[in-house]
């Protein structure tokens, strides 16, 4: 097996003195898609946030190795420039900053970090428009404020658009499927699948199995009460769909 892109060992995390992650162990090799599933409050979003470096999460024990570096020592912007992407469950609206500017600033920050030259406006626009077509997004979105007045589904598409422009090595997608109708789900899944490649990895955080019908994971992990209580192949997602989470939560208790 390849060296894992991401290796989480015994990760314990507190939020406001409450332990939300209680010893996570997870290896994510390049080329694979893993799904993290679990009931509400199991720690799924906390795990996404800690990996992306959101303030307010205190790591009390454990390590996270990211391409040979200590991920937890890096500020969030450096993680992003190194190729770690968080697709937000609730993308914020930032009126007054337009989408095109943010995309270009984000892309050029990553390119500078890799020692590449910045993309000029023409190349940037042709790249973005190609990716927007894939996401079936109207080009008018580019000149609007970031997520300003977007519907829930539009916001999620915009997250995936950003991911496709940035081409991260690791994409953590936090409940990207929530709030999507079935057509939008297929478009978003198509975007995610187009990122799959031997050098990239994807971590899908989801409550439901339906996204996994369209983006087939290599591994499925079930999170309950801050721990991974079961791991398996894609068939585990179907089992959860049929049996719910309660039997696993009871096992974890």
């Amino acid at each position: 097996m390849n060296m894992p892109l991401l290796s989480i060992r015994n990760l314990h995390v507190n939020v406001a003195d409450r332990e939300v992650l209680r010893g996570i162990d997870l290896e994510l090799p390049a080329g694979q898609v893993h799904a993290i599933m679990g009931p509400n409050g199991s720690g799924k979003s906390s795990l996404s946030h800690v990996l992306a470096g959101k303030p307010g999460y205190a790591v009390t024990a454990g390590t996270v190795d990211w391409q040979g570096q200590d991920l937890l020592s890096l500020p969030p912007e450096e993680r992003a420039r190194d190729g770690l992407f968080l697709g937000f469950q609730y993308p914020v609206e930032i009126p007054g900053v337009n989408n095109a500017y943010l995309l270009r600033a984000a892309l050029n920050a990553a390119r500078r970090a890799r020692g590449e030259s910045e993309l000029d406006a023409f190349d940037f626009l042709s790249l973005v428009k190609e990716r927007m077509a894939l996401m079936k997004m109207d080009e008018a979105f580019l000149s609007r404020g970031v997520n300003e007045g977007f519907s829930g589904g539009e916001k999620k598409r915009n997250e995936i658009l950003q991911m496709l422009v940035l081409q991260p090595r690791l994409a953590i997608l936090d409940e990207t499927d929530s709030g999507l109708d079935i057509d939008a789900l297929k478009v978003v899944a198509g975007g995610i699948n187009s990122l799959r490649s031997p050098e990239r990895a994807i971590l899908l955080v989801t409550h439901y199995q339906r996204l996994l019908d369209h983006v087939r994971p290599d591994r499925v992990h079930v999170l309950a009460r801050g721990r991974i209580v079961k791991s398996g192949g894609p068939e585990l997602a179907h089992e959860l769909e049929q049996r719910g989470y309660d039997w696993l939560a009871e096992e974890a208790a």
Binding site: K54, P75, E77, V97, A105
Partner: protein, 433 residues
Amino acid sequence: MNAVAKPVPGSMSNAAYEQRLRDAVMDAAPLLNARLLPVGVRSAALNKALAAGLPQLRDDLWRYADLRFLASAALAPVPAQPGALAAAIQPLLPPRLTGYTRLVFGDGRLLETLSDSCPALDAAATPLVPERTRHERFGWLNDAFATGVARLEAAGTLQLEVIFAATHGASRQAVYPRLELNLAAHADVVLVERHVGSTGAQGLVNAAVQLHCGPASRLRHLRWQALGEDAQLLDTVQLALDRDAHCQLTQLQLGARTARTSLRASLYGTGASLTLHGVAIAGGRRTLDQSLLVDHLAPHAQSSQVFRAVARDAARLACRSRVEAGRTARGSLALQSLKGLLAGGGEIDLRPQLEILTDEVRASHGATTGALDENMRFYLAARGLDPDTARALLEWAFLEDALRGLDPPGLRAAAERAVAAALGSDVALQVLA
């Protein structure tokens, strides 16, 4: 009530102020041109200034004005220094705005060598002698001590840039910029009023602006205050709108150590409309204070205000904005949105006020002050933007809606660049690229 009036803390007594005013008259007398303003107008103004004295501690309208400098600032105007002045002013002039006639005033006097010819400039026209209240008391000092005036009579279309540049002379004396503009019926004027000053030049700038918009005229006016960081500004603006006149007035408060603007707009003609936008940015220990009054006096008048303030360090920014719709103002529309952003320290005080004395008025007002949104900051960080870039971008986004409607577009672009530069980062400038 017989309470003993207490002066604003750190200020001087009224007796001392009165003495300083009388001394200033002695120094100023040889400099004052009776053709600009008749002697009777000047002495009446001085008497009113003396009677009004200084604002007192209990005067809520002056709570935030920092007037301590008055105890030491010279009040007499800078003496004329023919020849030398133009050379001192030239380096202060900003690049020209394309398509605009330019008038340059140095230390309160028209500099013909630096100005274009402008048929609208008419020093012999009847002065717009303002009626002032005690809230506008420092305007009386300008009436008394103005050494020059941009007195403009506009008919038809006009694009004009008036630059008031201050050096304060060798003895750091006061500068009295004065602008009087009368728009004839149906006139269409774009006016850029810029205040600039030497870096490190400490001194009083006392500006008075008198604007009258005739029936169905349109005034688009950008007031662009970019004085040096040691300047002290007292600024009095009066605006009157006749029937169906429209005025878009945008104020950029970007410079000065301490600045106080008192603005009163009278919408006295049926269907008059005013768009009043403002941006104020300050760091360090600077104080920028505004007191605005929009008076709806006629039916179907409309006013819309957007004010955005960004404070850093120990800066203090205040905006008190009062809208009155009197008994004659049925069918009025009055909107107010005042917002402050504490971007690392500072103090912001925003007070919208609405007084409605008639029916059929649509009005809304709101004021909020807060820090940068942590979720927005994290979102931008998660896209690879460093904290300084994210902060500048969010500050820009916060201010942007005060500039969004600024017309014409060329002027908006210039204003956006000035505001972006005042945020002290090239990030916002990139947004505009």
